[in-house]
């Protein structure tokens, strides 16, 4: 051991290059997948192919950001899948093909997502119900309520301008068309990274580690945890806008997304229970998952086996991460 004196020579920049705990495996897997894609699919010989991949992955990556906030602070959000469906169905019903309505429907959709997150957060922190149960209940409520409202099948239609973000792009020299969703994703990634560098972000992780220490240190534990749920709800709303644009109105658009996004976050080395993992790794997990689907598609593996392969890889990746990590956990302090 050396004293702090010896370490102060490490510059801030040098420190920032260090990868957060558990990030390395997912980046390695991602790199392998991207290389494999380049070898299998001719589309991936130029940037457009990867941009298309990013565009497909954007909704899941955005959801992963939101889910990361909740998981790292020690919770779960199982309601995001139903929330995405609900948002798309609501937007379609409200817009009903009317271009003019788009302008207020998008903020409304975002607000609704935040509101659902707020409810999740308040019940979790104020009534002390485990978030797994709260968001499971919310999942049931949203599923039921949306269909109750629409009478079983989604009605209405999204406007062109609503769908633009998820579907279209703008031309950029050299790389061709840059999808709006990729631009939005980039902005959110930057925002998320900055947020996690800042005080509130670090508080989220600290709360996942030891709530009492933060409370005694003068922190608003309940408020910050609730904020995580609000951000998760908002991320679901943004993902819904992208997915609605990308895939159109359907009552199945959010099916299974909650499990897929939790898988993605955990694949990124974020530990369920909180206190460990980085937001970049969580997004890398989401991208890895989408890259995997793309690869399986290219290899002609049918829909059925796709989920089998997905299941095996998730277990393998997490097993590798946890068994590998415990190997480094050497015995310390012998007296």
């Amino acid at each position: 051991m050396t004293g702090m004196n010896g370490t102060t020579t490490t510059t801030g920049a040098g420190r920032r290059l260090r990868l957060a705990d558990g990030t390395a495996p997912v980046l390695a897997v991602l790199a392998v997948l991207l290389v494999a894609l380049a070898f299998t699919g001719p589309a991936y010989s130029e940037p457009a192919g990867y941009l298309a991949l990013l565009k497909r992955a954007a909704p899941l990556m955005i959801l992963a950001i939101g889910q990361y906030f909740v998981i790292v602070s020690g919770g779960f959000d199982l309601s995001v899948g139903s929330l995405v469906t609900a948002e798309v169905v609501i937007a379609a019903r409200l817009i009903d093909g009317d271009e003019a309505a788009t302008l207020w429907v998008i903020p409304f959709v975002l607000g609704f997502g935040a509101l659902i997150g707020l409810v999740n957060g308040l019940i979790t922190t104020q009534l002390l119900v485990p978030s797994f149960i709260v968001t499971l209940g919310m999942l049931l409520v949203l599923d039921g309520a949306v269909f109750l409202w629409t009478g079983g099948s989604p009605r209405g239609a999204l406007s062109e301008s609503f769908r633009m973000v998820g579907r279209e792009g703008f031309d950029v020299p050299l790389i061709g068309q840059l999808p709006w969703s990729v631009l939005l994703l980039t902005a959110l990634v930057v925002a998320a990274v900055l947020f996690m560098r800042g005080g509130t972000g670090r508080m989220l992780v600290a709360i996942g580690d030891n709530q009492t220490a933060v409370r005694f240190g003068g922190g608003h534990v309940e408020r910050v945890r609730t904020l995580a749920f609000v951000l998760s709800g908002t991320s679901a709303a943004i993902a819904a806008v992208l997915l609605g644009g990308f895939a159109g109105v359907s009552a199945q658009v959010g099916d299974g997304l909650e499990f897929r996004v939790i898988t993605a976050v955990v694949l990124g080395g974020v530990v369920l229970g909180g206190g460990r993992g980085s937001v970049v790794a969580a997004m890398a997990g989401a991208l890895t998952l989408e890259a995997l689907f793309s690869l399986l598609n290219l290899l002609g593996i049918s829909g059925g086996l796709e989920s089998t392969v997905q299941g095996v890889i998730i277990i393998a990746a997490v097993a590798y991460a946890s068994v590998g990590r415990s190997k480094f956990r050497t015995r310390k302090g012998t007296s």
Binding site: V205, V214, F216, G218, G275, S335
Partner: protein
């Protein structure tokens, strides 16, 4: 049972020439230790002296590289804790090994439940548990009660009974008071004495000198893995003991007191403050002074600390900070008004163990203050000033020693430049070297104008550090004493003698 009587009989356990290395580093060299029936044998030394290793060798967790273990004169080797248990040696861990949602009996026989005709024999389990509790004279605990419903002191009893239930004749106790609240320590003392009367040999590992002197008949001191001395307790003073442990006298540990001529402004004033635990607290804390808060276990010292820091706020009276009356309703209000609180439970309440040194040092700053409400902070300089030894600022705090963890806790509070610092057992569970650093840090802060309220169960430490000592008795302030009072004067107030005489 007298100490002199010990020599007549053979020891229950005899360790001879024990040596142990971890990856080439010798942690124990040629250590001897005898344990007699009915004695409390204290094992003391700084962190890294080899106490825990020796204890774990006795309990079968580690196997020695050299040396002999004899039980009742027969040479034994323990391949596992089970083997040691079979030979009658049990260990009481520092952290509780109990299940809150199971009954006392279920906990005691956990993993060894008696079976009759394919079913767990609950009647026998509960009867045997009741028998053991009765034998110990603990009649207040029902075998069927859920452990969660018991106060911590009684949980400790269950823990000890669990260790005894394997027909143990030798108990190794590792910092048994670490998890106990102040007033519960006395109950543990009773229990240890009763165990001794019933012929159990106890190896007692503790950092707290007071406990060592209160309880033990003999003391073995280890330093750097070697045996320094093994003497009857009554032949040692605490000064001598510390000298054996660190090689210098006790007084040398404490820095000089504040200049009595220059008391600063009143930073904290309590007037008639109280809540359900404490009453009528009048107290003034001036910039630059360290005020010791003394009292017996359970007198309400920690309750005062918790009230000032907003964890369990005062409900009566007034609190003034820097001359202005304030209502402290939560830790947040206290922190934002310049009150820092170093809790006695470092791991449970003080640190986010899986986070880095840096994140912990910045925890309060980020938790309680907005982005720009404080000036710039030179974190590296701060960590240097509290002399944290860590591989880097990125190292996880759980990897640090207890002493370094405590320095990180101090750093986290210093980062917000508090005006009032409340420290509760600031040296609990850390070795003597680190204790001295903490003392110097506290005095340095006082010199810079911080008002410090210090709580400690170790009277020599409290007396050595304090510019004034306030003594509590039964939830109230019993009296105040000037710098350097005798232990007798403090104890007289703490036990309520003077109150009755007056």
């Amino acid at each position: 049972m007298s100490v002199t009587g010990l020599t007549d009989e053979a020891p229950v356990v005899r360790l001879r020439g024990i040596g142990k290395q971890f990856v080439g580093n010798p942690v124990l060299r040629d250590v001897d230790l005898d344990l007699y029936a009915g004695e409390v044998h204290a094992l003391v030394g700084e962190n890294g002296a080899g106490k825990s290793t020796l204890m774990k060798i006795l309990a079968g967790v580690h196997q020695p590289d050299s040396g002999v273990i004899e039980v009742d004169g027969r040479e034994m080797s323990f391949a596992s804790p089970r083997a040691a248990q079979a030979a009658g040696i049990s260990i009481v861990h520092q952290e509780f090994n109990l299940l809150g949602d199971r009954s006392v009996a279920e906990n005691i026989y956990l993993g060894r439940e008696p079976v009759r005709r394919g079913q767990v024999d609950r009647k026998r389990m509960e009867a045997d548990t009741a028998g053991l509790l009765d034998w110990l004279g603990e009649r207040g605990i029902s075998p069927r009660t859920l452990v969660r419903r018991l106060p911590v002191a009684q949980q400790q009893v269950v823990e000890i009974v669990k260790a005894l239930s394997t027909d143990a004749r030798v108990l190794a106790m590792d910092e048994p008071t670490a998890a106990l609240a102040d007033h519960e320590v006395e109950l543990l003392y009773d229990l240890v004495r009763r165990l001794r009367e019933r012929g159990i040999a106890i190896l007692y590992v503790s950092h707290r000198l007071r406990e060592v002197f209160d309880l033990s008949q003999r003391i073995t001191v280890l330093k750097d893995g070697e045996l320094v001395t093994c003497r009857p307790t009554r032949e040692l003073t605490s000064d001598q003991l510390v000298r054996h442990m660190v090689g210098r006298p006790l007084e040398a540990l404490f820095p000089d007191r504040a200049d009595p001529e220059a008391p600063g402004e009143v930073q904290l004033a309590l007037r008639g403050a109280g809540n359900e635990r404490v009453h009528d607290i009048d107290l003034e804390l001036r910039a630059g002074e360290i005020v010791g808060l003394a009292g017996l276990q359970g007198a309400g010292r920690s309750a005062v600390a918790r009230a000032i820091s907003g964890v369990q706020p005062f409900t009566e009276g007034t609190v003034e900070l820097g001359g202005a009356a304030v209502r402290i309703r939560s830790p947040r209000t206290a922190v934002r008004r310049g009150v820092a609180y170093v809790t006695e439970d470092r791991k449970g309440e003080g640190l986010a163990l899986r986070q880095s040194v840096r994140d912990n040092a910045l925890l309060v700053r980020r938790a309680a203050f907005g982005r720009r409400s404080l000036g710039r902070l030179d974190l590296a300089a701060l960590l240097r000033s509290v002399t944290v030894l860590a591989r880097s600022e990125d190292q996880e705090v759980r990897r640090l020693s207890g002493g370094n963890q405590q320095k990180v806790v101090l750093a986290k509070w210093l980062a917000v430049e508090p005006k009032v610092l409340v420290v509760d057992e600031p040296t609990r569970g850390i070795d003597v070297g680190a204790k001295q650093t903490v003392y110097e840090l506290l005095r340095g802060l006082a010199r810079e104008g911080v008002a410090i309220l210090m709580i400690s169960s170790e009277l020599p430490e409290l007396i050595g550090m304090s510019d004034r000592v306030i003594v509590m008795h039964d939830g109230r302030i019993a009296g105040a004493l000037p710098a350097g009072p005798s232990e007798e004067a403090v104890m007289a107030l703490a036990t309520g003698h003077e109150l009755e005489a007056a």
